[in-house]
Amino acid sequence: MIRLERRKEPSKFWRIANPFLAVVLTMLAGGAMFAALGKDPVAAIRLIFFDPIFSQTFGSYSRPQLLIKSAPLILIAIGLAIGFKANIWNIGAEGQYIIGALFGAGVALAFFPAPGWYIFPLMVMAGAFGGFLWAMIPAILKTRFNTNEILVSLLLVYVAERILAAMALGLMRNPDIPGFPGSRDLRRYEAAHNAELIANTGIHWGVVAALIAVIFAYVMMTRHMLGYQVQLAGQAPRAARFGGVSPARLVVICLGISGALAGLAGMFEVSGPGGQVRIEFASGYGFTAIIVAFLGRLNPFGIVLAGLLLGLTYIGGELSQMILQLPGAAIQVFQGMLLFFLLALDFQTNYRLRLTRGMRI
C-alpha cells in the first residue's frame, strides 16, 4: 500500500522543481481541455507560451507588451512576498494600487498644464506615499487594536474602488468633456507621461522600478538584519520575540513596504499604459500579484519569472482567443490550473510517498 511520510525537512529539490513541473502539468491538462473543446491543443499551447515571444508576426509587439503587463505584477508581488515571509498577510494590494494611482494622478492634474521636470518625480513620491498611507490603515488597526490585517486590507479594496469611482466622476473628471467620467489622458501631458524610455521596448519607469525592487528585496532578505528578522518572525515567532524583534514594528514595516510598492505600480500604470483615472482602472493586478508571489516561491528572482510567466499567459491567452477562437473562460481555467497544480504539488516538498508491504493494523 501507499503511505504518506513526512519529510524530516522540506525538500529543496522539489521546492525549485515544482513550479516547472506545474507548468508542464498545466500544459498537459490544459491541452486535454483545449482538445475537448475541439481545438488543436499543440497550436493553443504554442500560442499561449511561445508565440508572444517568438512569433514573427506578433513577437516584436508582444515582447515589449510582456514587460508592460508583468512589471506591475512583479513590483506588487515583491512587496507582498516580504510580508508573507513574516506571516503578515496584505491581501489588499489592489486598494493600495488604486490609491497610489490616485495620488500620482492627483499631483499631475494639480499641475496641469504646466511643464516642469520635477512633476514626474513628485508623482512617483505621491504614488508611493498613497499606497503606503492606505496600507497603514490595516497596519495601525492591527498593532493598536489587534484586528485581522487580511480582512481589513481586503475590505479596504472596495473602499478604494468607490473612491476611484468618485474621483473619476467628480474631482478628477476631465472638464473638457462634459457628461463622461474619466480624467484627462496623462499620456498627452508630457510632464506627467510615464513614456517608454527606449521606443518599442516596453521599458518605462515602472519596469525600472520593478528591477530595482527585485534587487533591493534580494539584498534586504539575504544581507540585512531586517530580512533576517522577517524570516525569523515567519518561521519561529516565539524565538523572534525573545530575540528582540518587535512584532508591531514588523507589521508596520512589511505593510508599509508592500503598500508603497503597490502604490508605485498604480502610479506608473495610470501615467503610462493606463493613461487616465477611469472607474474601471483597476484590473485585478493587486490580486494577481498574490498568485505571482506564491508561484515565485516568495523569492525575488522567482517572482520575476512568475510575473513574466503569468504575463505571458495573459497575452498568449488573448492571441489564442483571437486566432483559435478559444473561449475566454477556458483561458481563465488554464491560468487557474497553474496555481492549482503548484499548490497540489507542494505536498511533495514536505511529504514523500512510500510503498510499503503488508497490512498495518
Binding site: 506578433f58 508582444s62 466622476l169 457628461g179 493606463g274 483571437m322
Partner: protein, 354 residues
C-alpha cells in the same frame, strides 16, 4: 483596408465583380459572449454577419477585455494579424480605439456607443435606447402596485442617464404617484453585484426592476421574489418566465452587414450613426402574457409612433431636476443634448453621482 480598396478599384476597372478576398473582422467584448445580454447581442450580430457573407468574411472575437492597456493591446494584435475591420463593442474603449486607430490608418474601426472620433478611420454607432426605455417606463408605470420602480444602473454616462430619464418621464405620465429608486453598480457585468442591487431595491418596495447592466441576475432575483423585471439587450425570458415583462433587444446585425458590405464595396467611411426603432436596431422582446391586452396595444402604438417619427420620447415641457426649464412646450430634445445628458429630469428624487 488600403489593399482592399485598391483591390476593389482594380476589380471595378477590370469589370470582374468577384471579390474573392476574405474580409477579416475582429470583435472585442467587455463581457463574456455568454452574458445573455449586451455582449450576447453583439455576438448574435457577428453570427448573422458570418452567415450573411459566408466565406467572404472571417470573424474572430476576444471576450472579457478590460478597458485601457488590455484593450489597446488586443486591438493592436488584431491589426497586426491583418484584421480589416475592428468592432469595439463597449463604451469605455474610446481612448483605446483612438490610440490604436492613429497607428493603423488602414484598419477600419467601429466603436459602439462611443463619443471620441479623432481619426478618419473611426466610425461611431449607437442605438437610441431611450426610445425603448420610454416603452418600458410606460409599462412599468401601469404595472406597478407599490408605485416604486427599481433601476439598476451601470455608469453615469449620457446613454444611461437619458435611459433613466426617459423611463421615468413615461412612467410618471401614466402614473403620477410613481417613484424611482436607482442603484449604481459602476460595472457593466457583475452578476453578484446586480443580484444584491435587485434585492436591495425589492426590500425598498420596488415591484418592477429595470436594469442597464448586462447580466441576467436581476431577472432571476425578481423571479424568486415574485416581482416584475425587464431584461437588458437580449430577451431574458428564460431566466424569469413570470417576472420578465419584456426587454429592449439589440439587433446590430443589419448595421454590421451594411458596414462590411461598404468595406467590400470600397465605400466605407467614418460615420456617426445613432439608430432606433425606425432602423430596426432595437426591438422589444415578446410581451409577457401578464401585461393586459390594452396595455400591450398602448405599448405597440407608442413604438409605432416613435418609429414613424410622430412622437419623440423627450417632448417638452420638461424641467431639469433642479426645476430649471430644459424643453419648452412641444419642443423636442436636440440630439446634442441627449448625447451629453448629465442631469436628471424633475421628479427623480435621488442625486445623480457627479
Amino acid at each position: 483596408m488600403k489593399k482592399l480598396l485598391t483591390a476593389a478599384a482594380l476589380s471595378a476597372a477590370l469589370a470582374t465583380p468577384a471579390l474573392a478576398e476574405t474580409t477579416k473582422v475582429g470583435f472585442i467584448y467587455i463581457g463574456p459572449v455568454g452574458d445573455f445580454g449586451w455582449t450576447a447581442g453583439h455576438d448574435r450580430a457577428r453570427q448573422e454577419l458570418q452567415d450573411h457573407f459566408g466565406d467572404a468574411v472571417e470573424t474572430s472575437i476576444v471576450e472579457n477585455v478590460d478597458y485601457g492597456a488590455d484593450a489597446e493591446r488586443v486591438m493592436t494584435q488584431m491589426a497586426i494579424s491583418g484584421t480589416d475591420v475592428i468592432f469595439a463593442a463597449s463604451f469605455g474603449y474610446g481612448p483605446d480605439v483612438n490610440a490604436v486607430a492613429g497607428r493603423f490608418p488602414d484598419v477600419a474601426f467601429q466603436h459602439a456607443t462611443g463619443y471620441i472620433q479623432e481619426h478618419p478611420n473611426i466610425s461611431l454607432y449607437d442605438a437610441r435606447f431611450y426610445e425603448g426605455r420610454a416603452v418600458l417606463g410606460h409599462i412599468a408605470g401601469k404595472m406597478t402596485e407599490t408605485n416604486t420602480i427599481g433601476y439598476i444602473a451601470s455608469y453615469p454616462i449620457p446613454a444611461v442617464v437619458s435611459g433613466i430619464n426617459s423611463a421615468f418621464l413615461h412612467a410618471r405620465a401614466v402614473n403620477p404617484d410613481v417613484n424611482f429608486r436607482i442603484i449604481w453598480t459602476y460595472s457593466w457585468f457583475d452578476p453578484a453585484l446586480e443580484a444584491d442591487a435587485a434585492e436591495t431595491l425589492i426590500e425598498q418596495g420596488a415591484d418592477v426592476i429595470m436594469q442597464h447592466t448586462d447580466s441576467t441576475a436581476a431577472v432571476r432575483v425578481a423571479e424568486d421574489a415574485g416581482v416584475m423585471a425587464f431584461g437588458q439587450a437580449s430577451d431574458m425570458t428564460q431566466f424569469g418566465p413570470t417576472a420578465h415583462l419584456s426587454a429592449i433587444v439589440d439587433r446590430w446585425a443589419p448595421y454590421y452587414i451594411s458596414r462590411i458590405q461598404a468595406v467590400k464595396d470600397g465605400t466605407w467611411e467614418a460615420q456617426n450613426s445613432w439608430m432606433g426603432f425606425a432602423d430596426g436596431i432595437i426591438e422589444m422582446a415578446p410581451w409577457n402574457d401578464r401585461i393586459p391586452a390594452d396595455l400591450q396595444a398602448e405599448a405597440d402604438n407608442l413604438i409605432a409612433a416613435i418609429a414613424a417619427g410622430e412622437y419623440h420620447p423627450f417632448t417638452g415641457p420638461i424641467n431639469r431636476q433642479d426645476g430649471t426649464a430644459w424643453l419648452a412646450e412641444g419642443e423636442t430634445a436636440p440630439d446634442a443634448d441627449l448625447a451629453t445628458m448629465n442631469f436628471y429630469v424633475e421628479g427623480i428624487t435621488q442625486e445623480l453621482p457627479n
